[in-house]
């Protein structure tokens, strides 16, 4: 999965600032990311680090009046920021489609699940109602909803949480998108249901050759499905690399801190190696590395200038002043 083929998603120096409020909020501050076809990337980060805003940018979902966007986004050869009208509507659904944490936000409560999927297909393609319904049924089978014929005519509220999540995935796949964006798709689910949905996503990805960006704050979720992890902090990707590399050989002090502070594997009752402090205020970002105020390795230069990208290995890089070697 190294940079051999042309990336299907190519984000360069993306900035997203919300204006409109009392002070501008710098939600995304120079995200650069290239994703290969059929790659699964986990965007890992804490609340407010800019994961959802980055994802929404890929769909051109930011209200123009209240947002100022910089940089460039190419998806499947299209310049997303230049899309509008019919082209944008087709792009959403046919090229890229998205699933969310809360299926009730994606599903319309007053229509049956089958009707919604069929309607989505017909909106994008010239097919008959009968055909669209048959495809909806096939989709429900694909996401392994039990008794799919019956579920076609079920309303979202008549389904359990896990089943609704499956229905939303079916809806997202209705028009055979190349790219699936998943924003915390399992965060609200119980453990025994979460693992089912993660395995389903993994299977569908393989079967359909989907390119996937999965947003999560749970390292375990990333490990289960992702080829590669990008760690976000204060609107920047601070480190990215193959999932094994990030877990076993993290180089950025923030990634190292996150992994070290986990309760997973820690001795019962021993103190955790917590990162001090809390994430910065996005309306008042420090000029240098945004992690500097919490970083035990921070030097004067870290506070003054924002670090550039440095490679660790060919497909592993980070944004930190420290020599890749020094950050142990």
């Amino acid at each position: 999965m190294t940079g051999t083929a042309a990336p299907i998603i190519d984000i360069r120096d993306l900035t997203v600032t919300f204006i409109g409020g009392r002070k501008p909020v710098h939600a995304v501050n120079g995200v650069t990311l290239a994703i290969q076809p059929a790659e699964v990337l986990a965007l890992l980060g804490e609340s407010g680090s800019g994961k959802s805003v980055t994802l929404r940018s890929l769909l051109g979902l930011h209200p123009p009046g209240r947002t100022s966007i910089g940089g460039s986004i190419q998806v499947a050869g299209k310049d997303v920021m230049a899309l509008s009208g019919r082209a944008l509507a087709d792009f959403r659904g046919k090229t890229v489609s998205m699933i969310f944490q809360e299926p009730l936000l994606a599903l319309d409560p007053v229509y049956t699940v089958g009707a919604q999927i069929a309607e989505t297909i017909q909106r994008h393609e010239a097919v008959s109602r009968v055909k669209a319904r048959a495809r909806a049924l096939a989709l429900l089978q694909k996401v392994r909803i039990p008794s799919p014929e019956r579920r076609l005519d079920a309303f979202p509220h008549e389904m359990s949480g896990g089943m609704r999540q499956r229905a939303m995935i079916a809806l997202a796949l209705a028009c055979n998108p190349q790219i699936l964006l998943a924003d915390e798709p399992t965060t609200a689910l119980d453990a025994t249901v979460q693992i089912q949905i993660l395995l389903l996503l993994r299977e569908l990805q393989r079967e359909l050759g989907l390119t996937v960006i999965l947003v999560t704050h749970d390292i375990g979720v990333a490990v289960e499905v992702a080829d590669r992890v990008a760690v976000m902090y204060a609107g920047r990707i601070v480190e990215t690399g193959p999932v094994r590399e990030i877990i076993r050989n993290p180089r950025h002090p923030y990634t190292q801190g996150l992994l070290a502070s986990r309760a997973h594997g820690a001795m019962t009752g021993s103190r955790l190696d917590a990162i001090p402090g809390s994430p910065p205020d996005l309306a008042d970002l420090p000029p240098g590395c945004s992690f500097a105020p919490r970083c035990k390795h921070a030097k004067a230069t870290c506070v003054e200038t924002a670090p550039e990208i440095r490679s660790v290995t060919a497909d592993h890089w980070m944004r930190c002043m420290l020599d890749a070697e020094a950050a142990e």
Binding site: P146, D190, A191, H264
Partner: protein, 354 residues
Amino acid sequence: MTELADMQQSVARDPRDRGGPRQPLLSVRGLVKHFPVGKNLFGRSRNVVRAVDDVDFELLKGETLGIVGESGCGKSTTARLLMNLIEPDAGEIIFDGEVVGHDISLRDYRRQVQMVFQDSYASLNPRLTIEDSIAFAPRVHGVSRREAVGRAHDLLARVGLEPHRFAGRYPHELSGGQRQRVNIARALALEPRLVILDEAVSALDKSVEAQVLNLLLDLKDAFGLTYIFISHDLNVVRFISDRVMVMYLGKVAEIGDAESVFAQPQHPYSAALLASMPAMDPDARTEQAPLYGDPPNPIDPPPGCRFHTRCRFADPVCSQTVPSLTPAGETQQVACLMRQYGSGHSCIGLEGRA
């Protein structure tokens, strides 16, 4: 074990301690809470949610008991019953040897049991400074304003918020992690012996969660506290708990030493729940989901063992007989017919297979 004994020693020095270190701080017997849902023509409820259905357990002095289980299994309802925020339909709570409501008044009991919730914002009054929020309960209990505020400042310092910077702030001027520290300080203001933490760290960022977990460990030592720790994060529960209780649809499925339960769960449901935790090793990803489908509706739970609809060991007897908690392994108790001699389950004697 010796550590626990030490802990219990220090607790034993507490002048409020009545029964000594070996007497459980809480004994919960036959606790039941059913919520009526939906009304029929006569205004009577047709259905009940069996949120907590005949729950028994003991909480030892100085321990942390973790409670896990899927959404709706009755964790918060158990906590609210213990806090006396809702009335049980049946059952009794014995606090350090005294039956609550008989030997010890509700008021005296309530001051010794405090709770911290998940939502750090909703649980603080937005119009009170955090100093006043923390001092509020002691004031109600007759502590002078000066003393209550002094205690609030001490507690703020204890939870890592410098009083001179934070005492005068309002909740919206704090981060989520800071607000949760305030909630913890507030829970400690009446010097409770038991603190119930219901998803208390769940809303926090991972980096801040570790700080608050450390704080909870420190405070427990410093004040000789006993914790009930409810969370859906099984890694965190394993880390913080001495013992764990696994609930399923209003019932206790298994209870025992945390390490034993995590290493060798004895109930098929505990085993499936723990096996559902995402792998942390990219080379050992989960290959098959341990369970299929969602937990059944607690409104009309399955008869017999409530887990039988999803259990791969289920026998005909499992849909008829309600299993009762039976000792299994050295420290565990489990409610499964496979472990109950004479139950008629065909796998009896093949245990340890779950």
